[in-house]
């Protein structure tokens, strides 16, 4: 039996929101808020999470929350952080650490919000940027983003007679963030809550910008039945497709090492977005992963 009261009991993310059954993004928000606690200011750029949590005049958030356009989660978070700093100089919020937590999807981070994020990281605003990565624009109907992996089918990169779906590999956002030389970068997955929550907590304690990329399976876009959200996330990590690591002040560390990497086929076969793939295609993907894992030191 595990020890009791493992996870904090406070809820800062209310039920009744309009997320799909089995939604991964709501799990991301719930876990992240549990990890940081009440003194959080959430900056939410447009995306699934923003749309389904705040059907006006209702909100699922129990912490201060602001909606921004797709482009400017980084800029708005930077502004809020500087405002807090200025107010602290005038004696407000004594002894409290307010955490600014921008949370954006992969479209709002890797594509549209990229320049404002890059600017914010470069200027060194104290924030915890969370990218919930569901590998396409799920909110508007599964259009491809630069985070969509190779050979995945999306509505703007559909698989057919000529095309095999997305023809570019996934953009490695965590490494791009790390290239800014910021104090903390991590990847996480909702299937490993202790790991994810520890990383969020650590990121909030660190002065300066922190970036966390969370893989979050999407039941609608990836095409699997709702109960498998956690299982697919776990497979993504165990096959080596999405390695969990953290880079703290330049030190790279793998935080979860699968005892033996599972074959990628197990992961692929569970999802409708990959159903057009032949064994040869899976072999290509497997080879890519093997190379990446070798580079990162996963066996």
């Amino acid at each position: 039996m595990m020890n009791k009261k493992q996870f904090p009991r406070e809820e800062y993310f209310a039920p009744g929101h309009r997320g799909c059954a089995g939604c991964g993004a709501s799990i991301v928000a719930r876990m992240a808020l549990k990890a940081i606690g009440r003194d959080t200011i959430v900056v939410n750029s447009t995306g699934c999470l923003e749309v389904f949590t705040t059907p006006y005049p209702e909100t699922a958030w129990k912490v201060p929350w602001i909606h921004t356009a797709f482009e400017c989660a980084g800029a708005v978070a930077g502004g809020i952080e500087r405002a807090i700093k200025a107010l602290k100089k005038r004696g407000k919020y004594k002894g409290r650490k307010l955490v600014v937590m921008p949370i954006s999807g992969d479209g709002g981070t890797a594509d549209i919000g990229f320049q404002s994020l890059s600017g914010a990281l470069e200027r060194g605003h104290d924030m915890v940027y969370i990218m919930y990565d569901n590998e396409a624009y799920m909110n508007t109907g599964v259009q491809r983003s630069s985070s969509t992996p190779l050979f995945a089918s999306a509505t703007t990169a559909p698989a057919g007679k000529i095309s095999k779906g997305e023809n570019n590999p996934k953009k490695d956002m965590a490494m791009i963030a790390a290239a800014h030389g910021i104090p903390y970068v991590a990847t996480a997955c909702i299937s490993y809550p202790e790991d994810f929550m520890r990383k969020v907590k650590k990121a909030s304690d660190i002065e300066g910008p922190a970036f966390i990329q969370v893989l979050q399976p999407c039941t609608v876009g990836w095409g699997y039945s709702t109960e498998n959200t956690i299982k697919i996330g776990r497979l993504a990590v165990e096959t080596g497709l999405f390695p969990l690591y953290e880079i703290e002040n330049g030190d790279f560390k793998i935080t979860y090492k699968p005892a033996k990497r599972k074959p990628l086929k197990e992961y692929i076969k569970m999802q409708k977005r990959y159903r057009h793939l032949t064994d040869e295609d899976i072999e290509i993907l497997q080879k890519n992963i093997d190379e990446k894992c070798k580079l990162l030191g996963l066996e």
Partner: protein
């Protein structure tokens, strides 16, 4: 009608919307089998699973959408599912 700058003054107000009606399958918790590993508690996308005063985990059917992640993630099969019928 619309507030200035579309500010929402009441935090956590989506609780007005009872999403329990979305359910096709209903998860059933057997507290005798439960080992309190908290898997269902942390993986629930709605936060509908709560700990009652005796330390037992219960499901709030007002909001449970019936995704059955809890049933899938339970290591001891304390959670089972039945079809929702009326």
């Amino acid at each position: 009608m619309v507030t200035i700058a579309a500010i929402i003054y009441e935090p956590g107000s989506t609780t007005k919307n009872k999403t329990g009606s979305w359910r096709t399958f209903r998860p059933i918790m057997d507290n005798k089998k439960c080992i309190k590993c908290e898997n269902c508690y942390i993986f629930c996308p709605e936060g509908t699973i709560y700990e009652d005063e005796n330390g037992d985990f219960k499901i709030n059917y007002d909001y449970c959408k019936g995704c059955l992640i809890c049933v899938n993630e339970c290591p001891v099969n304390a959670l089972t599912s039945i079809r929702e019928e009326k």
